[in-house]
Amino acid sequence: MAEPQGPDPDWPDQDQKEAPALDLAGEGEPALLVDLGEFEGPIDLLLTLARDQKVDLTRISILALAEQYLAFVEEAHRLRLEVAADYLVTAAWLAYLKSRLLLPTPETEEPTGEELAQALAFQLQRLEAMQTAAARLMARPRLGRDVFPRGAPEDLPVFERRVTEVTLYDLLRAYGDIKRRQQKTGPLHLPPVDLFTIEDAIRRVEAMLGRLPDWTRLDRFLPPDWRGGTSREDKLKARSALAATFVATLELAKAGQLEVRQDGTFGPLYVRRTDPPPQPAQSTDKEP
């Protein structure tokens, strides 16, 4: 609910709020006088009632105020009006305060009636101070209503100077990356690799033939450390040694120094000296 007939919001007008409180004496229309919508809560209502006492808030009679408030709420009850819970809580508390002020102080650790009354007085003063301050604040010349800013602000031209963040390191790193990529995709350059030459193989086969009496498998002629291994390098070395040795045996066979035999397609190759005359029974399945 907005405040349809409430006071001008910018100017909390105390006179307007006094009117319903004065009506409490029964001179006006009861329906209007208990319109709690006019108050910003129980403390605001209390403050309005307190102003009726027309004395400085520091000298207010809290007892009289409590009685006024209770009468106000009672009147609302009589008219069967809805009274918000916090107004009722305050009413209960004020009834308690009233009893504490009227009765002799019991021997308890609870605050005395005077202390409670003082606290309430402070609360009222503080709220009043804020309401007054609000009114003074709102009465100041205000921007957009009383005081005006430049109506046609000029855009001060802003030049953007673009600064690109890149360091020499970034530049060199980028070039290094390009070079590395090139290595992966550029033309193939074979590095010098340690391989078993045919000359080496011929020398080795010639030297070994004298000591081998009969048919001997070709791979037996390979040097022990060239017979293969697990690494690709070893395998390559073994293949180059095998190829060189095979070419060497063909060379020596051509020279009539040895014979070569293979028992079936993809079977192992056998080699032996030609010193003893070749046996006619044996098949001489020479390689081309």
């Binding site: 609910m1 907005a2 405040e3 409430g6 006071p7 919001p9 910018d10 909390p12 919508g37 006019e38 108050f39 910003e40 809560g41 129980p42 403390i43 605001d44 209390l46 918000a84 819970a85 916090d86 809580v89 508390w93 605050p111 409670l116 606290a119 309430l120 402070f122 609360q123 003063q125 503080r126 709220l127 101070a129 804020m130 309401q131 007054t132 301050a133 609000a134 003074r136 604040l137 709102m138 100041r140 010349p141 205000r142 921007l143 957009g144 209503r145 009383d146 005081v147 005006f148 800013p149 430049r150 109506g151 602000p153 000029e154 855009d155 001060l156």
Partner: protein, 217 residues
Amino acid sequence: MTVDTVTEAPADQEEGFDRRAEQMRLVEAVLFASAEPVEEAALAARLGPEADLRGILDELQAHYSHRGVHLMAAAGRWAFRTAPDLAPLLQRETEVTSRLSRAAVETLSIIAYHQPVTRAEIESIRGVATSKGTLDILMEAGWIKPGRRRETPGRPLTWLTTPAFLDHFGLESLRDLPGVDDLRAAGLLDARPAITTLFSRGDDAALPRAVEDSAED
């Protein structure tokens, strides 16, 4: 700058005057061109470190103090504004200035005078629960902003006013709030929790919040 012969001093001085005059024109133009207050630091950055910005601003302010436009400062920001005394001749009713509810006005002044202040404290002072819309409206107007959380149980948020608040109400600083010194001297800006103890409630709300005050907004 040369620091040599005697006869050169006047020439140097004259040059200094010229430069200062140019700096003043520049500050005048920059402030005039902007609808929003300009940070003093931004002006300083434009003039360079040796410039007597403060002196220039003071001189400008004095020059304009009798004119139709005044140079105002708020929270270290500077702006030209029409002279407040011309308000009756210039007045316009605008939405922002007329729409505020009493709840919003009271809440704004409580935040202004008591900042940093929590919502519970605002409620304790007003003696009524604050509807969420009230703070929203004040925030939307650009007058309040959340501050740091209070290091108490529940770590409640505190509220502060903004430089735009000072600008809107023509205040140079919070010390210029109407009557702030008297209120402080009277102890009325104390954080004393009056009603909280009255009702001896343990929770953070001063008063029952069951009923939001319907008068707001």
